[in-house]
């Protein structure tokens, strides 16, 4: 017999079951996906939702997918009514103006029925490598969404647990890698069905009423924890701003402006003053902008508590109409996440004066994507697309240095592609890979270092680059200094060029591309950093000897011991220069 009651014990058991259900779904999807961007990039997420579309449990590889799967379910209910759902249905959609993000992101969800009753939804999202844009992958110079691939509203791809062959065939025919696209689709469908099965097992045990009572209680607990944390912040208005280098098409900076109002238990994030819709692909649908604001909130407010339908009870996000963060047709959205990485850092910066122990200097800022596309002569000229985000430095904080070579804030479980795997799969040789010295922002706590990686092409192919944040490199806090921004060097035909963004640049065998990612911002006055720590950084290669003298005022003997006297003199001199 099912028990119909809620008590602290049952509630805690059900809460853990929801979370593990979401983890099961995620494991199913990641382990059976076909493309590295899902299984290495972890560019995906899953959620178990109640019948209203509120989150019961979720698991995410990508923080910015936090809490916007429910939007897709809710708007489908709005558009078609609940009657549209039948057991064994599966829906697909990818419209950025509805779900946020870009066309590559496939949202797939399924209703869950218990007996005849609609009791919830299992939902998934994953990045599909190619959805038929004008160039392979995600073009960097699109000016309309129609150049970025196919666009679908909520569409039934399964009915009564049977695939709708005609509809799925339409998907397959419209991507460049149709076979792996269907493989990735299957992994998402499979994750939805895993969620359905697990939910039914929970319902068998406790009954649907007990689940509802428990989820109500779980939401209440989350809301209470959040309210308490926000109320503890001093009332006031906090602001920050920064810009992207450009929109990928023009050369004007693109501004993101943040104002956070705290009033009692309420937090309002207002993005008034953010740049107007851009011609290039840095626009973002509102649903995704809200998710990103929630990521920043979550970094500061109860980060260890999993997200559910009760989280963010007092958070309001205002996104101005007509701005890049409230994209409308036909604005291109391919690189929607670039302003979001900045937005998250800015919200943290705005609130850092009232949460100094929780904040950190800015991180290197964006995914810093390089991809190489062409034919592999070692495999009968089969097409290849080698796509990589690149880690960089994270911001320093009061009690510690920023991390060196860590993936950016909108990504999460991403792992770099091992040199051995890269060289085996693609006709490219990696020349070197390591920390970029002096790239971290100097501070009492040092900002993390960015990375360098050298690609030696073994065959002709096309280069695509999306490197950002040279106009707003990672800033420091509390007297900590800014980090160095990114740089990419291309050596071709004996000449050398620097660039950050490029679309479809043809290169020849023997050409070399070297990427450098930026560091993280420093924290506190670098002249107060313990000289022994600076010495260790020099030995480890994070800081050069010149950098130690220039940024930290630390001078060494020939044997690389700290020269205390010379250091004191140097620091005094630098302090005078700094204050004048």
């Amino acid at each position: 017999m099912a028990e119909i009651r809620t008590d602290p014990v049952t509630t805690e058991i059900i809460r853990n079951l929801f979370l593990s259900c979401a983890q099961d779904m995620n494991a199913t999807m990641i382990r059976s996906a076909y493309t590295p961007i899902i299984y290495e990039g972890k560019d995906c997420s899953v959620a178990l939702l109640d019948e209203n579309g509120d989150v019961l449990g979720q698991s995410s590889g990508l923080p910015i997918f936090l809490g916007n799967l429910e939007v897709c379910v809710k708007l489908t209910i709005e558009q078609f009514g609940r009657e549209v759902f039948e057991p064994g249905d599966v829906f697909y959609m990818n419209d950025p103006y509805l779900q946020g993000t870009h066309l590559n992101d496939s949202t797939i969800f399924a209703p869950i029925f218990y007996g005849d009753e609609l009791v919830g939804f299992s939902a998934t999202r994953a990045h599909w490598l190619d959805v038929g844009a004008k160039d392979p992958g995600t073009p960097m110079d699109s000016t309309e969404i129609y150049q970025e691939g196919f666009r679908w509203g909520p569409t039934k791809i399964y009915s009564h647990y049977e695939q709708r062959e005609d509809v799925v065939d339409l998907l397959r025919r419209n991507g460049r890698f149709g076979y792996s696209l269907i493989g990735d689709m299957n992994s998402q469908v499979s994750a939805c069905f895993t969620g359905e099965e697990r939910f039914k097992v929970i319902a068998d045990r406790f009954g649907v009423d007990a689940i509802r009572a428990a989820s109500g209680e779980i939401f209440r607990q989350s809301a209470q924890l959040d309210r308490e944390a926000v109320a503890a912040l001093p009332d006031g208005t906090y602001t920050a701003e920064g810009c992207l280098d450009n929109d990928g098409v023009g050369d004007e900076p693109v501004w993101v402006r943040v104002r956070v109002d705290i009033s009692g238990e309420e937090m309002t994030i207002d993005l008034e003053g953010t740049s107007e819709a851009a011609a290039g692909p840095v626009n973002c649908g509102m649903a995704q902008t809200i998710s990103a604001a929630r990521v920043a909130y979550k970094l500061l407010i109860n980060p260890d508590r999993p997200v559910d339908g009760g989280t963010f009870p007092t958070l309001t996000v205002r996104v101005p109409e007509g701005s890049i963060l409230h994209a409308k047709e036909p604005a291109p959205c391919g690189w929607y996440f670039t302003p979001l990485g900045l937005l998250i850092d800015l919200i943290v910066k705005a609130l850092s004066p009232v949460m100094p122990d929780k904040a950190a200097g800015a991180h290197y800022g964006d995914s810093m994507v390089i991809y190489l596309a062409g034919m592999d002569p070692r495999r009968d000229n089969a097409p290849f697309l080698a796509l990589e985000p690149t880690p960089g430095g994270w911001g320093a904080f009061e009690s510690g240095d920023g991390q060196d070579g860590l993936i950016n804030n909108v990504n999460g479980g991403f792992k770099d592609i091992p040199v051995e795997v890269y060289e085996t799969k693609y006709p490219v040789r990696i020349g070197c890979y390591g920390f970029r010295p002096d790239s971290g922002g100097p501070g009492r706590s040092r900002g993390g270092c960015g990375l360098f990686r050298e690609y030696r092409l073994q065959t002709g192919c096309s280069l695509y680059l999306w490197f950002e944040r040279s106009r707003t490199p990672a800033w420091g806090l509390e007297g900590g200094r800014d980090a160095r921004g990114p740089e990419v060097v291309v050596r071709s035909d004996g000449s050398e060029r620097s660039m950050l963004k490029v679309n479809n640049l043809p290169l020849k065998a023997g050409d070399v591309v070297i990427t450098y990612t930026g560091g993280g911002g420093g924290y506190g006055n670098p002249l107060e950093r313990n000289p022994e720590l600076v010495r260790r950084d020099v030995i480890s290669g994070y800081v050069t000897r010149e950098g130690a003298a220039r940024d930290y005022g630390v001078v060494f003997t020939d044997g690389l011991e700290v020269d205390a006297e010379a250091t004191a003199r140097k620091r005094e001199k630098l302090a005078k220069e700094g204050s004048s």
């Binding site: 602290p8 805690e12 499979s190 991403f414 051995e420 030995i539």
Partner: protein, 678 residues
């Protein structure tokens, strides 16, 4: 005279021994306090208690946590890592991922060595094994100087693509050994012949890190045993579930890492065979942790990669899923919600009822309060428990939640059981395995007390509590084979035309394996080789391990069969497959087994028809206080059916059977618990 087969499980608190007397055909057990400063002392004491003449020992195997503890407590050797020029930072970059999504002040897992102890030399191998740049002896000059000046005794070497062509790594060892003869040198390709330079370097560093400690320990133990006249060769339990000789363990100490816990799983495998039950879910619940593992079709499930404290290790190891749940798990409040574990009272102060200063309630306190344990018969009466302290601790939290004390005690058990059930679900349901088709085997000090509750959570109908459940891991070590795993990465699409190339790689791996087994003294009629392949759909990363069709040389036809097996295995695992889609190989593997004796029938129950009731006491089950019969395990004859509620007590464990379930003892001394009417 050689009549005793002996196994020893050296844990943090106790050293457990199981002796099988081949003459009398019976087994007996012993438990002595561990002696962490010199583990050999505890072993010798334990042996002397049980066996008169050490020359009577014919076979000796042990499980050790020496390597694991050196790693967990960061007390290993200082290691230098030597790698390819241009790639010094790979080990510190650690692939750049964040394991927590919402952490501004994130820290990467703490590496075992700092950047200043990583050195590079000029050399470069390409992806296909061609040499692009040769290795030079003079590049080692500064490294050798540092090793000598700073007294370093362990070095790891990891060069790019060494898994394809190990020539440069071998040369590096030659150069180093020539100049520093006693240096311990770990080569990455010998630890794991698989791609991914960070993971391989991490594995090699870990091996180098624990090598001197394990080496010293084994040498000492072997020496002491020899002094006492033990002539039998010392064997060590490996993480992959097999055993190896101590000398093989010295070559690859990383294989001893999970040497302790795997014994229980292997014991499960032996039970599976003896009882004719192919599928078992094995659970080991102690004071602080809960280990769950599987026997599928008579075999333990084995993984090829694991993360320890965030650091990846490439090696074959029995899948053991561990969560922080045990008798010592603490119950506490957070935001008005009740939490149980993973925080633990440990052994000191321990549960409140140990009366050593603990005041917060634990799982053991809840069990005691509900009458499931006898405060006068803990450790067979060796230690008294304080029932009042247990009640005070539980009622303190109960008042805050406004719950009756007994209800909270049951609630604590429900939460901890649900957690353990989740761990069991992770290794079953998540892998596409239906636990209802399994029998639960419960051991460890606390396992038999929770076993039936766990079985109910997963709708399992049968539970087995083996004889001497407190020393079951040691018993398992007597039920295994010598095992070595050989691997070669082979990144190629599936195609019938490559059967010849595959055959020659497998043959080479098998030859290497046979040579190792021969070195360990295994006669060829006792060798058994199993070929498997890691396979996936082209473009995927994760793979499925598939066993090859046996008998004779590989042919195109057999490869077709292998492809079919892959599709089927994939479907079982993920619920979908893509027949007709291109498939590729990732790694080829050979498991080499050397069969050893087994003795599963060492604990015969006494003769008789009826189970004598020792006493009766009140135990609370689901809010009801029921008079409950108490039995002593040693007095239970085979076959007699006992209806629950009942409690079976023995020296190191207590088995609880609630109403609606019943128990009997089988011919091998196992307690078999079933749902009534099933």
């Amino acid at each position: 005279m050689t009549r005793y087969r002996v196994s020893i499980d050296i844990g943090g608190t106790f050293t457990d021994l199981v002796v099988h007397d081949e003459e009398e055909r019976r087994s007996f057990t012993g438990k002595v306090l561990s002696t962490p400063d010199d583990p050999a002392r505890g072993v010798i004491t334990g042996l002397e208690d049980l066996i008169e003449d050490p020359t009577d020992i014919s076979f000796l195997v042990h499980g050790t946590t020496v390597g694991l503890n050196a790693f967990l407590e960061r007390r290993g050797a200082r290691v230098l890592l030597i790698t390819t020029e241009g790639f010094r930072d790979v080990y510190a970059i650690a692939r750049g991922d964040r394991k927590k999504l919402f952490a501004l002040q994130y820290r990467k897992p703490e590496p075992l060595i700092p950047l200043q102890d990583i050195h590079t030399v000029r050399e470069r191998m390409l992806y296909d094994g061609m040499v692009e740049e040769s290795i030079r002896e003079e590049d080692f000059d500064p490294i050798v100087e540092k090793v000598r000046d700073e007294g370093i005794d362990s070095v790891a070497v990891c060069f790019l693509h060494a898994y394809v062509n190990p020539e440069h790594e071998l040369r590096a060892r030659e150069i180093l050994r020539k100049r520093v003869p006693r240096l311990s040198v770990t080569l990455s390709h010998e630890v794991a012949r698989e791609w991914r330079e960070y993971e391989r370097a991490s594995s090699a560093v870990l091996n180098a890190y624990i090598a001197p400690t394990v080496e010293r320990y084994l040498k000492n133990l072997e020496g002491q045993l020899e002094e006492r006249g033990v002539g039998a060769r010392l064997h060590v339990m490996q993480s992959n579930g097999g055993v190896m000789t101590a000398s093989a363990a010295r070559d690859l100490p990383i294989q001893t890492l999970l040497s302790g816990p795997v014994g229980g799983t292997i014991g499960g495998g032996a039970l599976s065979e003896a009882l004719g039950r192919p599928n078992l879910l094995c659970v080991d619940m102690g004071g602080t942790s809960f280990d769950a593992s599987l026997i599928v079709e008579g075999q333990p499930t084995v993984s090829t990669e694991v993360e320890l404290e965030g650091l990846p290790v490439l090696m074959s190891l029995v899948d053991i899923h561990t969560v922080g749940a045990g008798g010592g798990s603490l119950a506490y409040l957070e935001a008005g919600a009740l939490r149980v574990g993973p925080r633990s009272a440990g052994a000191d102060p321990g549960p409140a009822c140990y009366a050593r200063g603990g005041t917060q309630p634990t799982v053991t306190d809840a069990n005691l309060l509900l009458g499931r344990m006898d405060p006068k018969y803990f450790l067979g009466g060796g230690m008294d428990l304080d029932a009042r302290a247990a009640e005070q601790a539980v009622s303190g939290v109960a008042r805050e939640l406004d719950l009756p004390t007994e209800e909270l005690a049951e609630g604590i058990l429900r939460i901890i059981n649900a957690k353990m059930a989740e761990a069991m679900r992770t290794i079953t349901v998540e892998q596409g395995i239906d636990p209802r088709e399994y029998t639960l085997v419960a051991f460890g000090g606390a396992g038999p007390m929770h076993a039936v509750a766990l079985a109910r959570e997963l709708e399992i109908g049968e539970v087995i509590v083996p004889p001497a459940p407190g020393t079951f891991s040691a018993w398992g070590m007597l039920q295994t084979d010598i095992r070595h795993d050989m691997t070669q990465t082979f990144y190629q699409p599936m195609d019938p035309s490559i059967s010849g190339e595959l055959e020659s790689i497998y043959s080479k791996l098998e030859e290497e394996a046979q040579e190792v087994l021969r070195d360990e003294g295994v006669p060829s009629e006792r060798m058994h080789l199993v070929r498997t392949a890691d396979m996936r759909y082209v473009g995927q990363e994760y793979f499925v391990n598939v066993e090859l069709p046996q008998n004779g040389k590989l042919t195109g036809e057999k490869l077709d069969e292998l492809t079919e097996r892959f599709h089927a295995a994939y479907k079982t695992r993920y619920g979908h497959s893509t027949p007709g889609a291109p498939v590729e190989f990732v790694n080829l593997r050979v498991a080499a087994l050397g069969e050893l004796e087994r003795n599963v029938a060492g604990f015969k129950p006494p003769a008789g028809d009826e189970a004598p009731v020792h006493s009766t006491r009140e135990v609370i089950f689901e809010g009801k206080t029921l008079p409950t019969r108490i039995f002593r395990r040693a007095e239970l004859p085979a076959g007699a059916w006992m209806a629950g509620p009942l409690v079976i007590e023995e020296d190191t464990a207590t088995t609880v059977v609630p109403p609606g379930w019943g128990a009997r003892v089988d011919e091998l001394g196992n307690v078999i618990i079933e749902r009534e009417g099933s």
